[in-house]
C-alpha cells in the first residue's frame, strides 16, 4: 500500500489524511519524539569508577544507554527520562544523579 503524503506532517489534520486502518508505515518512528524533556534528574558517569559491566545498559527501560568506542557507557539525553534505575543499580557507584537546572 502506498503511503500517503500526510506522514511527512507530525500529525494528520483532516480525516482523509489518516491511513486506512490507522496503519503506520515507518517502523520505530516514535524516536522522533524526544522524551528527554520529562526529566528532572540527569545521570552522569564517572569513568574512573566504571568497570564496563553493562548493567546500566541492560536495565535501562528506555534503551537509551549505549557503549562508546572505549567501552564506557553513556545515556542519550534526548530520551533519558531520569528514572534513576542506572544510578541505583550501578554497584561500583560510577553513576550519580544530578538535578537538571536551567
Amino acid at each position: 500500500m502506498k503511503q500517503k503524503k500526510a506522514a511527512s506532517k507530525a500529525w494528520p489534520e483532516k480525516w482523509h489524511e489518516i491511513n486506512p486502518g490507522c496503519m503506520v508505515f515507518i517502523p520505530g518512528n516514535a524516536s522522533t519524539y524526544h522524551t528527554g524533556s520529562w526529566r528532572a534528574q540527569r545521570p552522569e558517569w564517572d569513568n574512573k569508577k566504571c568497570i564496563k559491566c553493562g548493567l546500566c545498559y541492560i536495565f535501562c527501560p528506555e534503551g537509551c544507554i549505549s557503549e562508546d568506542a572505549e567501552g564506557f557507557f553513556k545515556a542519550n539525553l534526548d530520551y533519558c527520562k531520569g528514572c534513576g534505575i542506572c544510578a541505583h543499580e550501578c554497584w561500583p557507584g560510577a553513576i550519580k544523579m544530578f538535578e537538571e537546572v536551567e
Binding site: A6, A7, A10, W11, P12, I18, N19, C22, V24, I26, P27, G28, N29, A30, S31, T32, Y33, H34, T35, W38, K52, C53, G54, L55, Y57, I58, F59, C60, P61, E62, G63, C64, E67, N76, D78, Y79, K81, G82, C83, G84, I85, A87, H88, E89
Partner: protein, 315 residues
C-alpha cells in the same frame, strides 16, 4: 567441548545489540513492563509478528501516527490477543504453502497485560493453547489495570490497595489472592510454561529464546514492576523485582512437558515479605497482623510449588 569462551566479557555485553523497540515510547519513568518488553524483543529477534492486546504497552508504544515497534505489529482488542495470535500463525502457514511469502519461519507472538490475560483474555488464551498453535504468549503482569487508573484485576495480590479495592474501614484492599495463571496453563498440557522477571534479565532472555524454539504453544508469565501503580520510587523498580523473587511471592520456574524446574536459587529460608511490602504505597495500610496473613498465604503457595518440584524429580 564446553570450555568457557569470552571469559573476560561481562554477560550483559553478550546480548543482541539491536533494539526492536525504539526509544521515544511514552512509558512512565522507571517502568518495569517496558524493560521486560525491550528484553523480550531483544531475545525474539526480527522474525516475529506481534499481536498486542490493549493495555499499557499498546498505549505507550503506538500513539498514532507514531510507533515504537520495529517489527510487524497488530493492535487488537482487549480480549483476543490469543485468538489473533493463533490466526496470524494459521495465515502465515497458509501463505507459505501457497508461495505468497518467502519460505522462512516466522513466529507468531501474542503479548497482553495482566487484564488482557488473566481477566478478559483468558478464554481466547485458553482456546489458543488448547488448539496447539505454534505461538508464544507473553503476559506482562503489573498486577492491576494500570493504564486506565489502577483498577483491580484478578492478578492483584492479596491486600493491595487499588482505586476499585481501596483500603479503608470496610475492606483492607484486595480481598482475594492472585490468580495463578501459569498453573492454569500447565493444566492445558502446554509444552513450555515459564515465569520470569526483568530483574533477572539473562534468565528472562533464556526463557524467551526457549519459548521461541518450542514447536507448539508456549506461555511466559513476566512479572513487571510498576512504580506508578504501586506507589513506589522509580529507581527501586529493579530492587522490587529482586525482592518479589527472594521473598517467594513470585517464584521463578519453568515447566517443560509437565516437569517443574526451579530457575532461581532455592533459599533455605525465604526473606520475610515485609521487606517487599514496606517499599510500596499500595501496602502502606497493613499492620503486623495483616503482614502475618500475607506471609501465611505466601508460605502456603511456596510449599505447594516445592512439593510439585520435588515430586517431578524422579521423572
Amino acid at each position: 567441548m564446553s570450555t568457557v569462551q569470552n571469559f573476560e566479557i561481562y554477560v550483559p555485553k553478550l546480548l543482541d545489540k539491536r533494539e526492536f523497540f525504539s526509544a521515544g515510547h511514552r512509558a512512565c519513568q522507571g517502568c518495569g513492563e517496558v524493560l521486560a518488553l525491550r528484553l523480550i524483543m531483544k531475545a525474539l529477534g526480527d522474525d516475529v509478528v506481534i499481536s498486542n492486546a490493549t493495555g499499557c504497552m499498546e498505549i505507550i508504544s503506538s500513539a498514532y501516527p507514531q510507533t515504537a515497534w520495529e517489527v510487524p505489529y497488530i493492535h487488537v482488542a482487549f480480549e483476543n490477543a490469543g485468538a489473533v495470535g493463533s490466526g496470524v500463525e494459521a495465515a502465515l502457514k497458509a501463505l507459505r504453502r501457497k508461495g505468497r511469502i518467502a519460505d522462512r519461519y516466522v513466529k507468531s507472538v501474542a503479548i497482553a497485560g495482566d487484564g488482557g490475560t488473566v481477566d478478559i483474555g483468558l478464554q481466547a488464551l485458553s482456546g489458543a493453547m488448547e488448539r496447539g498453535h505454534d505461538m508464544v504468549f507473553f503476559c506482562l503482569d503489573n498486577e492491576a489495570y494500570m493504564n486506565t487508573g489502577i483498577q483491580r484485576s484478578s492478578a492483584t495480590p492479596f491486600m493491595a490497595a487499588t482505586t476499585t479495592s481501596p483500603a479503608g474501614k470496610a475492606i483492607k484492599g484486595q480481598r482475594t489472592g492472585k490468580k495463578n495463571v501459569p498453573e492454569i496453563m500447565v493444566a492445558h498440557n502446554v509444552p513450555y510454561v515459564a515465569t520470569a522477571c526483568p530483574s533477572y534479565p539473562i534468565d528472562l532472555v533464556n526463557k524467551v529464546k526457549k519459548a521461541k524454539e518450542v514447536k507448539g504453544p508456549a506461555y511466559v508469565h513476566v512479572f513487571s514492576m510498576c512504580p506508578t501503580g504501586w506507589r513506589s520510587a522509580s529507581e527501586q523498580t529493579i530492587k522490587l523485582g529482586r525482592l518479589v523473587v527472594e521473598t517467594g511471592i513470585f517464584p521463578l520456574y519453568e515447566v517443560e512437558n509437565g516437569k517443574y524446574r526451579m530457575t532461581m536459587e532455592i533459599p533455605k529460608k525465604l526473606r520475610p515479605v515485609e521487606d517487599y511490602l514496606k517499599l510500596q504505597g499500595r501496602f502502606r495500610h497493613l499492620n503486623a497482623d495483616d503482614i502475618e496473613k500475607v506471609q501465611a498465604l505466601v508460605n502456603k503457595e511456596w510449599r505447594k510449588l516445592m512439593n510439585k518440584v520435588a515430586c517431578m524429580k524422579p521423572w
